[in-house]
């Protein structure tokens, strides 16, 4: 069952900026979906359209089968982390959450639970203006969790987090996913979500380039054979002549087309010494670069 369904969704700001261009996708229940793309790709605008904060120029989007604004007590069904700066600087972390909880009709006990979940209990009485970027990000995450929602939309949740914070976030998201929640997480740092997501949506320049299970997409991505040889130039010429796409940097080669066994056989048959030969499993980043057509080999 699809939790979020977008159909031909577009958003134009003014006459010149087409932030989202005819995007159609669906997010399945219980999956962690990575919404991937470079900065300015249209991820945030799409998330805000899902949440009725930005009005689509064309198309429609439904979450849990209806428009966000039609969901009764939406904070109890959908939690969103959009912007860690959306807090009054003079308000304490606890009061910032209490305000949101009160507006959503949630009891103050949820505030304490959410503070505990993001490990901010110790700083709850401090004004938000004294928080670090990482603490604000955790506070925003606590906001998203206030209503114990079944769907989480997280826009660049690792922004501003240090490596320890990113590890904490990864563990945190895994735990939420294990509870069966549907999570849509946008990011431009692909390595950051690679170990967490089941499905991916890849967007660039407002257009959706690919969607599907990460396993399937990486299987379809062409593997890269990497070789290192003191005669790299000769090997490059031999492989290129056989139709392979080869990129060379000094003694290192990145080869697309032939399998590693074939590369090894060509090298042996032509007396080329190899110091290294292996097949690289495509990473999410490789997949993204290949789909987005922005790959710069080596």
């Amino acid at each position: 069952m699809a939790v979020i369904e977008a159909e031909h969704l577009s958003k134009r700001f003014g006459k010149k900026v087409l932030a989202v261009d005819d995007v159609t996708f669906s997010i399945r229940a219980g999956a962690v979906t990575g919404f991937l793309g470079p900065n300015g790709a249209g991820k945030t605008t799409t998330l805000r359209m899902i949440l009725d904060l930005v009005k689509p120029s064309a198309g429609s989007v439904r979450i849990l089968g209806q428009r966000y604004r039609d969901i009764p007590r939406p904070a109890t069904r959908v939690g969103a982390l959009l912007d860690s700066s959306g807090f009054h600087p003079g308000r304490s972390g606890r009061n910032a959450l209490r305000v949101v909880a009160a507006g959503a009709g949630l009891p103050d006990t949820r505030v304490e639970e959410a503070l505990t979940m993001v490990e901010l209990e110790g700083a709850a009485r401090r004004a938000v203006k004294g928080y670090s970027t990482g603490m604000k990000q955790r506070l925003a995450l606590a906001c998203a969790l206030l209503g114990d929602p079944e769907v989480l939309l997280l826009d660049e949740p690792a922004n501003g987090l240090d490596p320890e914070g990113i590890r904490w976030l990864r563990t945190f998201l895994r735990a939420r996913a294990a509870e069966g929640r549907t999570i849509l997480i946008s990011s431009h740092v692909l390595a950051e979500v690679e170990q967490t997501v089941d499905d991916v949506l890849i967007i660039s320049k407002g257009k959706l380039l690919a969607q599907g299970a990460i396993g399937e997409l990486t299987r379809t991505a062409q593997p890269v054979v990497r070789a290192r040889s003191p005669q790299a130039e000769k090997l490059e010429a031999l492989l290129t002549a056989r139709g392979a796409a080869v990129n060379r940097l000094d003694t290192a080669l990145a080869i697309r087309g032939p399998a590693s066994a074939e590369v090894g056989e060509v090298a042996q048959a032509n007396g080329v010494v190899l110091h290294e030969l292996f097949t690289e499993v495509p990473s999410l980043e490789d997949l993204f670069l290949e789909i987005a057509g922005t790959r710069r080999e080596l």
């Binding site: 009725d52 904070a75 912007d83 959306g86 807090f87 009054h88 009061n95 305000v99 949101v100 009160a102």
Partner: protein
Amino acid sequence: MISLLRAEFLKLRSTRTSLGLGIAVLLVSLVPTVLLIAFIPTHLLNGGELGAGATLVTYIVLVFGILGMTNEYRHGTITYTYLATPRRARVMVAKLIVYGSTGALAMLAALLVAQLVGVIGLPMRGVSYHVPGGGALADYARQIGVAGLVTCFGVALGAFLRAQVVTVAGALIWALLVEPLIVAFKPGVGTWLPFNVFGQVTSSSIATDAGNLAAHSGLTRPEAFLVSVAYIAVVSVAAVVVSMSRDVT
């Protein structure tokens, strides 16, 4: 709606805006009243000086109302407000109720402080203090009501225009400069202008106090009240209509 009202009251209590309002109201009700009681000749002390700060309080609650809405945009908290309550008209109604009642309470507090100054200060000048009678009490009640209306007008203006500095500066320039000039040179038009209309609801004190809020009376009090409510309703509805199509980015 109850939870929304609770959230709005909590917003007020959890920042320094309400503290600033309290201090400002205390100062503008205390200082002019003390100065008047201390320095004007005793034969002119007739109890009217106890409402000297009312006009200033009205401007303070106007700014307070504007800040109530524009602060949401300035600090980006409007995102969480609309996520919790996507029906934007409900947010507007809650703000009008909460800020309107707080503005009215601020005026009540200002009038009480002024009376307290009178209780202490008038006998020190050898003048007896008289508890306000029916007419004066009705006048004070109207001032309290107008403070609530002006605060609501500020909220509606803030929601409509969104930009804090522009809205505060524009509203004050309009109320203190533009509108009095129009009232002076085109009284027929001025009668219907918003701050003049608010002043005509009270007419006996605010209208004549500083000559800013309503100098020209062309409407009866009930008419002025109805036009005041109409102003707030029109700007509020316009703000809601605009906010429905406004992107929160």
